[in-house]
Symmetry: C3
Subunit: 370 residues, 3 copies
């Protein structure tokens, strides 16, 4: 369906030897020990497609049992298993957000080596801010580090959706409110609470990032919707974030809405209306398993073809990198085939549209070259 | 597809002789006289599937006209008609919320007798609170009655979604604000306005119920989304209620999200992320008639199989008990068949998943035994 | 499928000679110059169905290239091309909102002449209010003009969704707050900012319109959801507007929810519950192109058949009038055919339901006669 594929948003994998509990923990966004004993992470849509598509790559029959799969993975060793899965994924390039649980997973260079394909870094804005805790002038340290990191990155990313949500004031904060918020955060840091959740500081970080993005011609990625338990979903509707998106539009900065579930339709419409808005369904394709066609159909209902991208949002498990590709290719192929069959799309144009979504849009927006 | 079926949320039926207006009134959640003359409740999705599946049970051809159907129902008499319909529904057990318009419908024991299957009571928290109006110490009367009722119940249920909505403060109210709110409500009661809508009193009732549920190992059912005209839908997004759900999680109390329409996707994601969240589409399957496959697909996109349950949410008409089962069985069968056909689900595992959703999860959560 | 079709909400077309940029600008709700060069409005779902269905009407093969299509349209001239497209649309009557960019498009009489079918006027409430700027007593001028315009109109329409959104206080404003708001708006008008966005003035305008509508037996149309960049989508959920809708219900005034995307399910449920609520998916059918079946399926999941209507919401391009019809007829036919095939709808009743949605409901609500 397409001869190249750029994963414009994913994370590294772990090379730790995972027992069943450890493996299942990475099959969930919940990230908490103590799931009830009656819930196996294999007994959900993701579990089905994982057994189907990953087992053969490790030399088992499709739909091998969870026990057989994990035994085989352990026997191969995590490095070899991950290498095979990444090779099967066969993406042309990866854009890697290394700002989440970075000590547990491979970094950008490690992923490039393991997968044997170019990888590019995406800098997580809030992680850089938090790393400035304890500095004499944290705001200056943040700005300087962000600028330095951006020099070798292809994009900046914000998880403001997880912190304050999108339904916040979005103007650049004034000096007075900023200094009050900073002092409050510094006291919290001294007490060990470094996590950046203050809306004023988040706005400051976003504005510093926006001006840097404009200057360096970098897109800004925004986490939208589904994720772990930090999300207050009604505050994650990206429609609340239009004022900031319009500031980005005015500066020529592309905004990349990630995952978008369950706001696929809202995001597709935003991609139609705002010239800088781009969209993917990322994470959703893996976690909806046999039903992945549906969220992609939602996105493709209205989004312009030049505004859609592919991502796996894989984290931790190489399986998720492979599944992202398989799920995307199946769903995109089916949708375009249905359009052809209905007479709405010329056969000769399907490949052109698939290429735009699979890699051309990413290559253009992130200026990755050919 | 499954050999048992537990309806974990429904209501009693009426044995009154219903004329067309009375019957149509129970085909709608609107519960208001004076529907425009041009709207027949048979001219909607529910009307189509009712004529199709209920008419044969009363000895008519499928798709009998509304007139023929109602004449036949009247000729049989409401008791005999209801008995036939409930027998055709063939559920293994019913969990009955008897706290809504209880004087118009059969109670838990009456339903068990008419249907010939075990029935279990679900206690509606707000109804118990309202019944304490006029007591010398209503808060104490509420707590005592709730504890007494819980002794023979399998779950508690809240309709806070209908009253204040979910977008409220969710901490346990302090003594001072509670006493102010109580006094205000007592004055309202004296003026005849007993309905519990005050967020402070609702929070108090929920917290009393939560501690009782934790002590007695009872799940809490929460009405979510579609319902009658009391619902302010944007305030019904269950994402707003996560703080309370996390308090329940910390105490090991299962939370059962009912109906969930149009928040199926939000609820499916919550069942994936919070260990105590369970989901159904209840009411939605009947009221979407020929399209019932779609809301169930939405739920099954992401929800773990061990977190999904069946309910009819039938109220008043035995037809709704039968339709709930027919609609659920058709939709679930079709979804699993599609997954099998696509290669995403082994044929041998389909029955296991169907059994979990049809009855095993309910038997486990409500501790109903086998 | 149906022998008549009433487009109960659309706009006039332009007879200007459009170059590619001008034509593409009318293919988008974004209405802004400066779309990025990489985005052609033909490379989106609307572009595909436009090439498919409009090209043959102008004498080209289906799926003609954008270049060939625009060259042919230019050669025919905009008047002849528009005449052919409107003739192919073949609607029986049009209800035209002439209150948006009225100087660029044909008015109601012009459309009737060009299309050769009866057209009826819908008066945009906010446009009448804004036209009263600079009058000595703008409130009185508004009320008088609205009453005069209503004399020859079949409905009033509000775009409050675009201005304040629906999440506002909805009672009739008091004299004191009204006079403060009026004075503020008059100062803004003197500075050239005539646009009516003040919630107090919007409420006043709505209440004046509501009483007029009740007196004259006119429905009120409400824009809902998708549209241009003025929409703050989370504030457009029509669930927020129930208090006003209930005031309309109490006065017997039908409320027509237009487009409804992405709130199709919320709107379908509202049509089920409130006796005066009617719904369509208008604009959505054109802008979802090959996927138009999906939003119509969402609406038809729960909405009563007597509460659904057809509209194209076409603006500017006669192509959108034709596509509205083609998309609607395809989608409605397919949905009813699926219901028949599944055994849920008698073949003999499909035409009756189609006729209700295609024209009978509109003829009844707007009292258009036969």
């Amino acid at each position: 369906m397409f001869d190249r594929l750029i994963d414009h948003h994913c994370h590294g994998v772990t090379l730790a030897a995972l027992d069943r509990a450890g493996f299942e923990a990475l099959m969930s966004e919940a990230h908490r020990p103590g799931s009830p004993a009656f819930v196996s992470q294999f007994d959900k849509p993701l579990g089905l497609v994982l057994r189907r598509h990953c087992a053969p790559v490790l030399g088992l029959e499709p739909m091998a049992s969870p026990e057989a799969y994990l035994a085989r993975r352990m026997a191969l060793g995590p490095t070899e298993a991950s290498r095979r899965l990444l090779a099967a994924a066969g993406v042309s390039a990866m854009l890697i957000d290394s700002g989440h649980r970075a000590d547990e997973i491979l970094d950008c260079a490690g992923m490039a080596e393991l997968a044997g394909v170019p990888s590019h870094e995406v800098v997580r804005i809030e992680a850089v801010f938090e790393a400035a805790a304890g500095q004499g002038d944290p705001l200056r340290a943040f700005a300087e580090t962000l600028a330095a990191r951006a020099a070798t990155a292809v994009a900046l990313k914000s998880v403001v959706a997880y912190r304050s949500g999108f339904a916040i004031e979005q103007t650049r904060p004034g000096a007075a409110e900023l200094s009050v918020a900073l002092a409050r955060w510094q006291r919290a840091c001294e007490a060990g609470r470094v996590r950046l959740e203050d809306p004023v500081l988040l706005r400051h970080a976003l504005w510093v990032a926006l001006e840097l993005a404009a200057e360096r011609r970098l897109p800004i990625q925004l986490h939208v919707g589904v994720g772990d338990r930090d999300v207050v979903m009604p505050r994650c509707d990206p429609g609340w974030f239009v004022p900031f998106i319009e500031e980005a539009e005015a500066r020529g900065v592309p905004v990349m809405l990630l995952h978008c579930h369950p706001f696929e339709r809202e995001c597709a419409w935003m991609a139609e209306v705002w010239s800088n808005v781009h969209v993917d369904v990322g994470f959703t394709l893996n976690f909806t398993g046999p039903s992945a066609l549906r969220p992609l159909r939602d996105l493709m209902e209205m989004a312009p073809f030049a505004k859609q991208l592919y991502s796996s949002d894989a984290f931790g498990l190489a399986e998720l990198h492979l599944l992202g590709r398989v799920q995307f290719e199946r769903a995109l192929t089916r949708i375009l085939a249905d359009w052809i069959a209905a007479g709405d799309l010329p056969l000769a144009e399907a490949e052109r549209i698939a290429a735009m979504i699979a890699w051309e849009n990413a290559a253009r927006v992130y200026e990755l070259g050919q």
